[in-house]
């Protein structure tokens, strides 16, 4: 750490707890110094609505507006994560394109049960999707509007274009077409990305403080660097550029081993990059130029001892992450107690020097 940075940090220890949770997160996402990293669980693919948290709900929090809002607040109240985040799945974006969705319950998340009957060639000829007209996307937007407040940051979550595309059309076909039918693939990705951008803008208008995109199917581990740079990065850049005028930061999460695409994803312009537990954060920090988020192992959060969870959280902090978060989606059977050992360690067990 440079001497200048060290001195700045020393000044900041006197400002402990000066910030609201919203201020802290927004400061970090714009590269400003804070007293300590925030600890968040954005929502969407990576959400804190585990079974123990949502036990008391009587309606499905993936579908019902009131239940969605309540679930977001329950996560905040009970786990120690310093944000509200909606929705709690990755299916709202692909739903309008004729797929079948199981809406999940308190034990298992929503999932796609049947891909669209439409082939890719037909999907790209459809009219643009309008998020405000789609029931579940509208519910998410309305939830954000009602959750918006002064102190707790509200994160609107979006499934990235590659994952959305491969929830509409069978991923085996999507992957093959990337090589076999590049023009059609580009058209399909553009079609999907366009309404994801509209969705994000509606979330922002509703009061979202941060947008978080997760795109697990686009991981470098599956696509490789060549295809990632051709079919993933340009669309992320379009997304970021479309959101820029609104002044709202964007977080990006990638699952799996992202080592081969670290430099590529850094080019996209996101305010923070969130990685899975297999990524060495110290090494990532040497490569990426934006803020780093992650990456407490979710198996350990679910099944590990409290000591192990604290130790892993400490590793994240010592590696220099700017935001602490789980490494990936939490298992539904993860206990509140286990989650809190992570969040409390960040809030109370951490000191700069």
């Amino acid at each position: 750490m440079s001497e200048r940075k060290l001195l700045e940090r020393l000044d900041h220890t006197t400002m402990k707890n000066k910030y609201t949770e919203k201020e802290r997160l927004l400061r970090v996402l714009s590269g400003k110094l804070v007293d300590r990293p925030p600890v968040i669980c954005p929502g969407g693919m990576m959400n804190g609505a585990v079974t123990e948290v949502i036990e008391s709900l009587t309606e499905n929090h993936n579908v019902d507006l009131k239940a969605m809002i309540t679930a977001a607040k329950l996560v905040y109240d009970q786990t120690g994560f310093e944000n509200y985040g909606v929705p709690f799945c990755m299916t709202a974006e692909s739903e309008p394109l004729g797929i079948e969705v199981h809406f999940g319950d308190k034990y298992i998340e929503p999932r796609v049960t049947k891909y669209s009957k439409l082939p890719m060639e037909a999907v790209v000829k459809l009219e643009a999707i309008c998020p405000q007209k789609e029931p579940r996307m509208k519910t998410v937007i309305d939830a954000i509007e009602q959750l918006a407040n002064e102190d707790v940051p509200v994160i609107g979550n979006i499934t990235g274009h590659m994952s959305t595309a491969s929830s509409i059309v069978d991923p085996n076909i999507v992957f093959k077409y990337l090589l076999k039918k590049p023009d059609l693939s580009m058209e399909f990705m553009s079609y999907v990305n366009a309404y994801l951008i509209d969705y994000a803008i509606e979330m922002i208008k509703a009061g979202a403080d941060v947008i978080a995109i997760s795109d697990p199917t686009a991981t470098g581990e599956i696509l490789g660097k060549r295809i990632f740079e051709k079919y993933a990065v340009p669309f992320y850049q379009d997304f970021v550029n479309a959101i820029k005028p609104y002044g709202i930061p964007v977080i990006f999460h990638m699952c799996g081993n992202a080592k081969n695409v670290l430099e590529s994803i850094d080019k996209a312009g996101f305010n923070a990059l969130s990685f899975d537990s297999i990524v060495n954060m110290k090494q990532a920090k040497e490569v990426i130029t934006t803020q780093l988020m992650g990456n407490v192992n979710t198996q350990s959060l679910n099944f590990g001892t409290l000591e192990k969870i604290e130790a892993l959280t400490k590793v994240c902090l010592d590696s220099g992450v700017d935001i602490v978060s789980p490494a990936c989606g939490l298992g539904m059977s993860t206990s509140i107690r286990q989650i809190k050992s992570m969040t409390q360690y960040v809030k109370e067990g951490y000191s700069h020097v």
């Binding site: 991923p171 085996n172 992957f175 093959k176 090589l179 295809i227 979710t298 198996q299 099944f303 539904m332």
Partner: protein, 216 residues
């Protein structure tokens, strides 16, 4: 064109993901009266071996594997009907699937492709597979291996339950149980009594051959 030159061309086109070319060249092999078993072993399977290497070297990824697999299967469809029954040594039989409750199947598909590419007979149960289905299918086809995959820690327990079901029926010893997936580890495999845990698809194929005493 000599036989070896033809095989070289088939392998190269397979690696280059040129399905139509592989199909045409396999048709040519029949015109040249080359035994189907030789085309399969020397051209198609050896071609996919190269593809496996490229995957391990991180040159090829899933999209490329899927395309190469299509090319291989295209060629296979042409020559397979011309096999003599005595040609194929008994293939290793595999029942594979993603455990009940989980729909992530990319990893499982990769294992299936590489196993089929090396000549194994794979019965793919798909994803979200009810636990009994693993047992029933394995018995039905007299499988050698039962291969289970999951990406989710919430569905891992299913693997142990399948092993318990095999034990309850007194047939555990008839099958080798392979497990893999994101939350899986050697520690977990030992805990539930699985025979093999592998970290990736290529290892799964290697271990399968090793277990069954076949040349790799």
């Amino acid at each position: 064109m000599s036989k070896n030159e033809l095989f070289d061309e088939i392998r190269e086109n397979l690696i280059e993901m040129e399905e139509d070319a592989v199909i045409e060249l396999c048709k040519k092999s029949l015109e040249m009266k080359i035994p189907a078993i030789e085309t399969i072993n020397e051209a198609l399977i050896k071609g996919m071996d190269e593809v496996s290497k490229l995957y391990e070297e991180e040159e090829y990824f899933l999209p490329e594997i899927l395309m190469c697999s299509d090319a291989m299967n295209g060629g296979l469809d042409v020559v397979k009907p011309h096999l003599n029954k005595s040609d194929m040594e008994d293939p290793i039989k595999v029942v594979i699937g993603v455990v009940e409750g989980d729909t992530h199947d990319i990893g499982k598909n990769l294992v299936k492709i590489l196993m089929e590419a090396s000549g194994m007979e794979v019965h793919d149960l798909g994803r979200d597979v009810p636990l009994d289905a693993f047992v029933n299918k394995a018995v039905e086809v007299s499988s050698d291996l039962i291969v289970m995959s999951t990406l989710m820690s919430t569905t891992m327990d299913g693997m142990g339950k399948v092993i318990s079901k095999l034990e309850a029926k007194g047939i555990r010893d008839q099958f080798k149980v392979f497990i893999g997936g994101g939350p899986i580890s050697q520690f977990y495999a030992d805990r539930i009594g699985a025979d093999v845990y592998t970290n990736d698809a290529s290892d799964a194929v290697r271990e399968a051959k090793k277990m069954m005493g076949r040349a790799s």
